[in-house]
């Protein structure tokens, strides 16, 4: 049985990292549903949020193989945790001046906003869970979607504590930790039955 796993990966902000990560996932036969990458508050570190479609044991392989890449600092499988996992969608809607009111009501319900207005169309921006975005797009269809751009998921776990403290991986810190803390979420040591 396959499932979607949500992986939050911190990587060194170096050229080629995205290719290494994507190439490894492809080579091991896993499927990427979505991948987003951007810098963090520390500009030497980027965060990748990856949704992969894999089986249970494959998920563990995927995280371990990712953790092995030299540029990967930590990998955290946050599937099923209390997450904020959001996407962003921009939709250019057919909207001549007389027909905008109904559309704007729907945008309000989804807590979206109009970010561009032209003679006969508007661009709407909505953020939220993948499911919310899916629903919004379905509702927009009858009104005439002219163009659509959708981001991948970015996610953080809810609560006070950072899941991973970057300082734990500071280059001049003490010798780090054992393997499991590099692979959070999924245990680094496997136990089970043959």
């Amino acid at each position: 049985m396959t499932q979607s796993r949500l992986l939050s990966v911190l990587v060194d902000n170096k050229p080629g990292v995205l290719q290494r990560v994507a190439s490894m996932i492809r080579r091991r036969g896993f499927n990427i549903d979505s991948l987003s990458v951007g810098p963090t508050d520390d500009d030497t570190i980027s965060r990748m949020t990856i949704t992969v479609h894999v089986g249970r044991q494959q998920a563990e392989q995927a995280t371990k193989q990712l953790a092995k890449l030299i540029d990967v600092i930590t990998i955290d499988d946050i599937t099923g945790l209390r997450n904020v996992a959001h996407e962003l969608v921009l939709v250019r809607m057919h909207a001549p001046p007389g027909e905008r009111t109904e559309l704007l009501n729907l945008v309000d319900i989804f807590r979206g906003r109009i970010v561009d207005v032209a003679a006969s169309s508007v661009i709407i921006e909505v953020t939220g869970s993948a499911e919310k975005i899916d629903n919004f797009i379905e509702l927009m269809r009858p009104y005439g979607i002219k163009e659509l751009a959708r981001s991948g998921v970015v996610a953080l776990v809810r609560g006070d504590q950072a899941r991973i403290r970057l300082m734990d991986f500071a280059i001049d810190g003490d010798e780090p930790q054992t393997e499991p803390s590099r692979v959070a979420g999924v245990a680094g040591d496997t136990t089970g039955t043959v």
Binding site: Q19, S23, G188, D189, T190, T191, V194
Partner: protein, 559 residues
């Protein structure tokens, strides 16, 4: 102030490099311009970059702790390294490849001999670098060597644009060791897990150890022997683990798996506690996965690579650590014990399923050649084998009474590996006898290195087990593909004596068993490379073998 090329060469010396296998070309000419200025770096001009990569691999495997180094130019030169890098990657061999690249200003313009080397090699290296600033050269080389040789070793590639080889900078080799937050040191073995394993050993009625190449990489042979002797646990090994445990030891089993000894497979299938150390547990070990160790109650896996734990077989207890450290600490906890009944059972299986060959044809058998060869190894010689039947015969007839080096391309199964790799092994171990066992198919795949062998008078004894066919493929076709022989006939192979003559390499040939010993003696007495061609029984097969799709206990033996 030094040029980038000089900085690179200085850095190699700082990393302890003494030998470089390489091939020059347009994009690495600045490196070659300055190479003669560094007599401490012995450059061996190979005749094909693939040979260079395998030679660097053979150098590193045979001189543990060292890193093999290969140079190639951009484009075709670099791409010719790919198979060699893949070979090193699968078998965890520390190699650093430095490839010339077109000038950084020309990258991406499809300039002459440009190729995306980083992209082309990404899945067959542990890590790779494109140098973009002259100041980065020394720290990059330091880090590349660190990554190649530590943790689970592997090949690292440095792509070095030509303009940066010529650029000038101050040379400062980093004095502090490499620290990367994304590359921590291997973890210490978890003491609680080790205590658990010691308890499992204590309670085991039918314990078995399987040793892989990780034991050899970690140089943990003594610790392995101590564990086996302390608790009287029989030890089998993988193809790449051959040599990690003395074959003649009373606790020794043999190679396990697809073409392993019948008694090893029986022991593994009957084991209640199975301890796998430094191995990947791949399909050549397990055969059909559900047939592997069916009675095991406690499966223990010790490996330095956490990704190997649970990849193919899910253990009950696992330890992520260096094999030597883990075994040393485990040995402090293991109590002496001896399961008489189990050892008696194993001895009985050894008698019932000996590794043996039969000779129905009266023709020269490959095992006769290998027995003569191994009788001259004195437990010391480094033996390399190529891929195919010659590889399995050489592995199963390996007979050392102490740990030794048996090198082959176990993971990728690269035909043509052994001959160039044996150059590296001999140059790394000038005082050891080196035998290269190969077939006529694999030999011709890299036979251009005969020129390198002769030029440098590299004293390797090459043994060609010549059956005028791609033997392993022929055996598979005979037994598993309806008996249709297709594209396996190698009758049109060169006359190896004349070929030796053409290259200036001493060569001899026979098909008679009486000549084997004399030819081997003559080859060993000769100070330089020798090619020995043995025309063997063309129908000689590898036994035991588990038919494709069958399980561990379905092995077929010589009849």
């Amino acid at each position: 102030m030094l040029t980038g090329a000089q900085i690179a060469l200085e850095s190699l010396i700082r990393e302890g490099v003494d030998t470089i296998f390489g091939y020059p070309g347009g994009a690495n000419l600045w490196l070659y311009r300055y190479l003669p200025d560094y007599p401490a770096l012995h450059h061996v001009l190979v005749r094909h970059e693939q040979g260079g990569a395998h030679a660097a691999d053979g150098y590193a495997r045979s001189k543990r702790g060292s890193v093999g180094v290969v140079f190639a130019t951009s484009g075709p030169g670099a791409l010719n390294l790919v198979t060699g890098l893949a070979t090193a990657y699968m078998d965890s061999v520390p190699v650093v490849a430095i490839t010339g690249q077109v000038p950084s200003t020309a990258i991406g313009t499809d300039s002459f001999q440009e190729s995306d080397v980083i992209g082309s090699t990404m899945s067959v290296v542990k890590h790779s670098y494109l140098i973009t600033r002259v100041e980065d050269i020394a720290p990059t080389i330091q880090e590349a060597f660190h990554i190649a040789r530590t943790g689970r070793p592997g090949p690292v590639l440095i792509d070095f644009p030509k303009d940066l080889q010529a650029a000038v900078s101050v040379f400062n080799y980093p004095e502090t060791p490499v620290r990367r937050r994304s590359y921590p040191a291997p973890p210490r073995p978890d003491p609680a897990k080790l205590r658990q394993i010691a308890e499992l050993i204590k309670g085991a009625k039918r314990p078995v150890i399987l040793a892989g190449r990780g034991v050899l990489i970690a140089r943990a042979e003594e610790e392995l022997a101590e564990l086996a002797h302390q608790a009287h646990i029989p030890v089998g090994w993988t193809l790449l683990g051959t040599g990690a445990f003395p074959v003649t030891d009373p606790m020794a089993l043999q190679m396990v798996g697809f073409m392993g000894a019948g008694y090893t497979n029986k022991a593994v299938c009957e084991a209640d506690v199975l301890i796998m150390i430094g191995m990947r547990c791949d399909d050549r070990v397990t055969t059909r996965l559900d047939s592997f160790a069916p009675r095991v109650e406690h499966l223990v896996h010790i490996d330095i690579d956490p990704a190997e734990i649970g990849k193919n077989v899910v253990p009950h207890v696992s330890v992520v650590a260096d094999a030597k450290v883990a075994l040393r600490e485990l040995n402090l906890l293991v109590e002496p014990k001896r399961e008489h009944q189990w050892l008696t059972q194993i001895d009985q299986w050894k008698e019932e399923h000996p590794v043996r060959f039969t000779n129905h044809s009266g023709l020269l058998q490959p095992q006769q050649v290998l027995e003569e060869m191994y009788s001259r190894c004195e437990d010391e010689a480094i033996v390399l084998a190529d891929v195919g039947q010659n590889q399995i015969w050489a592995a199963l007839w390996f007979n050392y009474s102490k740990p030794g080096l048996f090198l082959n391309s176990g993971g990728t199964g690269t035909m043509g590996y052994a001959f160039p790799a044996s150059m590296g092994a001999k140059l790394a171990n000038p005082h050891k006898t080196v035998f290269c066992v190969t077939g006529e198919g694999g030999f011709v795949m890299n036979m251009q290195e005969m020129a390198t062998m002769v030029e440098n008078n590299i004293d390797v004894n090459v043994i060609i087990l010549n059956n005028s066919s791609l033997g392993m493929v022929r055996q598979f076709q005979d037994d598993f593909y309806d008996g249709v022989r297709s594209a396996v006939d190698l009758t049109f192979t060169p006359d190896f004596v004349k070929l030796g003559d053409a290259f200036g390499m001493k060569a001899m040939s026979t098909d008679r068993v009486e000549d084997v010993g004399r030819m081997l003696d003559e080859a060993m007495a000769h100070k330089g490379p020798v090619l020995l061609n043995f025309n063997i029984d063309p129908n000689a097969n590898v036994y035991p073998i588990v038919p494709l799709g069958k399980g561990m206990l379905d092995f077929v033996e010589a009849s």
